[in-house]
């Protein structure tokens, strides 16, 4: 477990810095309340509608495709660990894997599945 001590330190430091920033801005910043200032910022325009807007189902496809490519990355991680030992064999092995998935990426782009409209 010793090799995870840096991870723990990074987690604690990250938490401390985030907490410190939230509290520091509340303590150090000038506190002048005005109705306009209390409004949520919306690109300078007066806010319109609820923040809980409904999203188009089309974006769901992007999320599903993200998961599939995330699984691909999951295989890249152990591969990177033993990359030097495997040498050229490992390189070709991963090349075949990535190329098969690249076919899928070309298909997705050609179908326009990543177009926002």
């Amino acid at each position: 477990m010793e090799q995870y001590v840096p991870v723990l330190i990074a987690l604690i430091l990250g938490g401390l810095i985030a907490t410190a920033m939230v509290f520091a801005s509340a303590i150090l910043g000038p506190q002048k309340h005005a109705p306009v200032k209390e409004e949520p910022f919306e690109c300078g325009n007066p806010p319109s509608g609820s923040a809980w807007g409904r999203f188009s189902v089309k974006f769901y496809l992007a999320a599903i495709l993200f998961i599939i490519f995330d699984i691909e990355v999951v295989f890249l991680y152990p591969w990177a660990v033993v990359f030097r030992q495997l040498g050229l064999f490992g390189f070709i092995e991963m090349l075949v894997f990535v190329l098969i998935l690249a076919v899928g990426l070309v298909y997705i782009i050609k179908k326009g599945a990543l177009e926002p409209a």
Partner: protein, 165 residues
């Protein structure tokens, strides 16, 4: 894993897991679920399952959580008012949960007691290194076939979701 570490981890885990269910706002529930998954990953580390711990964070806390947030946004779930929690639903949850606890209890009774000596694990057991060495040599073909499986999943998702277009 000694008892102190176990309970030091179990207590926050139970708290955040309860918050996932109890919190009225679905977005907060999702954030608590991320914390639950992270704490579970630590348990996997203690079980020498280093790769599973990494997967837990990359796939579950990363990708699956994105899917959850998308569902929350797509369904436009608002913060749940208290009075909407129906009594019947709560009763059903109590009965279901009770049965689950009973089953777990019966299962745990059948487990062998901790008197048996722990078998020494081979060096490097469960490390990403050990897993990768086998995955990319002995399991070469299944690994390559996985890419075709992912390709099928991609095409399937596009075909199903873009039918009208």
């Amino acid at each position: 894993m000694d008892h102190v570490t176990f309970f030091a981890l179990a207590l926050p885990l139970i708290v955040v897991a309860t918050m996932v269910v109890v919190h009225p706002s679905p977005v907060y529930s999702a954030l608590f679920l991320v914390m639950t998954l992270f704490l579970l990953a630590v348990y996997f580390l203690f079980l020498d399952a280093h790769m599973v711990a990494a997967l837990q964070i990359i796939v579950y806390a990363g990708a699956i959580m994105v899917l959850f947030l998308f569902v929350i946004m797509l369904l436009n779930l608002q913060t749940e008012p208290r009075e909407q929690q129906r009594r019947g639903l709560r009763r059903a949850a109590l009965i279901g949960g009770g049965i689950l606890v009973l089953e777990l209890f019966l299962l745990l009774r059948r487990l062998p007691t901790g008197d048996t000596p722990e078998q020494a694990l081979p060096a490097g057991f469960g490390t990403v290194q050990a897993l990768s060495e086998r995955l990319f040599t002995d399991f070469l073909l299944p690994f390559e076939i996985t890419s075709i499986l992912l390709l099928v999943a991609m095409v399937g998702a596009v075909v199903l979701a873009k039918r009208q277009g």
